[in-house]
């Protein structure tokens, strides 16, 4: 099968719309789920009311730090959302619809996670501020601890597909979704998703315990840009999770992109629910558990998947 691609101009429009729309949907879901968890009598309208907080954040000025690296400070959120766009590009959005469903899909996705680490590190480093720098260092330690999980989980998904392209990974789930066939995959990939977007329990670089870390010194539009970039990345991870574990665009009656959107909204709701319901994991405990429990589990997952494919 030749990889499906959209026309470059159409790809820019589709990619931009999915990223922007995804960021808005994740923001609204986060507010709605948060309101429901908090027992708000009108949780459905919380998504709309959240706009007030966006306006407030837009008007709040940032801090002037001593000799910051202004170029890298501006580049960091742009790079983060740029690599989110790169990840989106290799994901199939429907049957035969993808920006670039390349043969090396999962390798590109791995590269995105690593480049996201660089972007977050630079965001904290460029501020020239102690707690922002602590956040930057934390994210490198956190990322290095979960990056291998992502690789093993994605390689396991590629084994039955006999291809590293996400389109083939979806096609291989025609009979049975990977969430059933590879039960350890989804929980492990959730750790990676929450880690890369530093969301909820894994918000260690921007955690409240270090006064919001890498985003401590940014305010106004720069702060909004950083938060939008995170939400766009979480939306991309929701789509990737649907593609890898929930059969992507596969489904009866409705068109493929609609199925993918529905599954992604469910996954994103799960992510933001975890963000509200699970407390922040202490840094050293996360690193220890990632290396001593999750990494061996992911290797077991890969070995079992490989054995099942061979049998």
């Amino acid at each position: 099968m030749t990889p499906a691609t959209l026309h470059p101009l159409l790809a820019v429009v589709v990619g931009g719309l999915v990223l922007a729309g995804g960021a808005v949907v994740v923001g609204a879901l986060d507010a709605v789920v948060g309101a429901a968890v908090a027992g708000d009598p009108r949780p459905a309208t919380a998504g709309v009311r959240a706009w007030r907080r966006v306006v407030l954040a837009w008007r709040r000025p940032g801090t002037v730090t001593e000799r910051p690296d202004l170029v890298l400070w501006v580049v960091a959120p742009a790079a983060y959302v740029g690599v989110a766009a790169l990840a989106l590009a290799v994901l199939p959005l429907g049957d035969g619809i993808a920006i670039a469903d390349v043969r090396t899909g999962i390798v590109v996705f791995g590269a995105v996670e690593v480049l996201a680490m660089v972007a977050v590190f630079l965001h904290g480093w460029a501020a020239n501020s102690a707690l922002a720098l602590v956040g930057a260092y934390r994210f490198v330690a956190e990322s290095l601890s979960f990056l291998l999980l992502s690789m093993f989980v994605l390689i396991a998904a590629a084994l039955p597909a006999e291809s590293m392209a996400f389109g083939e990974i979806v096609a291989s789930q025609q009979g049975l979704w990977n969430v059933v066939r590879q039960p350890l995959g989804l929980p492990l990939f959730t750790v990676v998703a929450l880690g890369t977007t530093f969301w909820g329990p894994l918000n260690l670089p921007d955690g409240a315990d270090i006064a919001t870390g890498t985003s401590l010194e940014v305010g106004g539009p720069a702060y909004i840009a950083w938060q939008v970039a995170r939400r766009a990345m979480l939306a991309v991870y929701a789509i990737a999770t649907s593609v890898v574990f929930l059969g992507g665009h596969l489904g009866p009656v409705l068109p493929g992109p609609v199925w993918l959107a529905l599954k992604s909204v469910v996954v994103a709701s799960g992510f933001v629910w975890l963000g509200h319901r699970v407390g922040r994991v202490p840094m050293d405990r996360f690193v220890r558990v990632a290396w001593t429990v999750l990494l061996p589990l992911s290797f077991l997952h890969l070995a079992v998947t490989g054995a099942v494919v061979l049998l």
């Binding site: 000799r67 043969r103 390798v107 590269a111 480093w125 020239n128």
Partner: protein, 204 residues
């Protein structure tokens, strides 16, 4: 891949790779130098994708991104330059470096100029990734395994050197904190470190 967009992309990436490679030596911070080198590598990786070595190109992206980040952190750890924000000289042994650089560039240029390289445009070869896999896990396996073990040993050594606590005790054992006056003798007392195993004071 062929066509004018590919040619434009090649030249933009090639100039970018050289420019950022040059910036490595013009900046005054270890972190900026490291990430300038990363951008240079990313340009090279993108050129490899243009040449249809897409697996190697994309693998270069993530390998170099991890490597450069870890390198930045270890550089800062060893360079006694907190966070790499203090100005510092980025060049050492400049004469040797210039000679080595000119010789290497001349050698590569000679290869490009005189070698009989194929000039047939490849159009979407299907089996390159499979062939690469068979090469790495077949003919070149000993080479790859040797390189892998060497890198692993280096990583373990680097971690052991930076660890605050090892099998021979505390890394700061015997070191004494300096005084504010640079000419004065260091403090008599050894540097105090919190002992996680002792819940009471006593030694010092």
């Amino acid at each position: 891949m062929t066509g004018w967009p590919v040619d434009v992309a090649f030249w933009v990436l090639a100039v970018g790779a050289v420019w950022f490679g040059w910036r490595v030596f013009r900046t005054d911070s270890m972190v900026r130098a490291t990430f300038a080198l990363l951008v240079s590598f990313l340009d090279v990786g993108a050129i490899m994708v243009l040449l249809l070595a897409e697996y190697l190109g994309v693998a270069l992206f993530f390998m170099m991104a991890v490597e450069m980040t870890v390198m930045a952190i270890f550089m800062v750890a060893y360079m006694m330059n907190p966070a790499g924000l203090n100005p510092m000289q980025m060049v050492h042994q400049p004469r040797v470096a210039v000679v080595a650089g000119v010789l290497a560039a001349a050698g590569l240029a000679a290869v490009a100029w005189f070698a009989d390289l194929p000039s047939v445009a490849l159009v979407a070869p299907q089996d390159t990734i499979r062939e690469l896999g068979l090469e790495v896990m077949g003919e070149s396996m000993i080479l790859m395994q040797t390189a892998g073990i060497t890198l692993l040993a280096t990583m373990i050594g680097a971690v052991a050197l930076t660890a605050a606590h090892g099998r021979f005790g505390e890394a700061t054992s015997g070191s004494r904190p300096p005084r504010l006056d640079p000419d004065a003798e260091p403090v008599e007392q050894e540097m105090a470190r919190p002992d996680p195993h002792a819940h009471h004071g006593g030694h010092g």
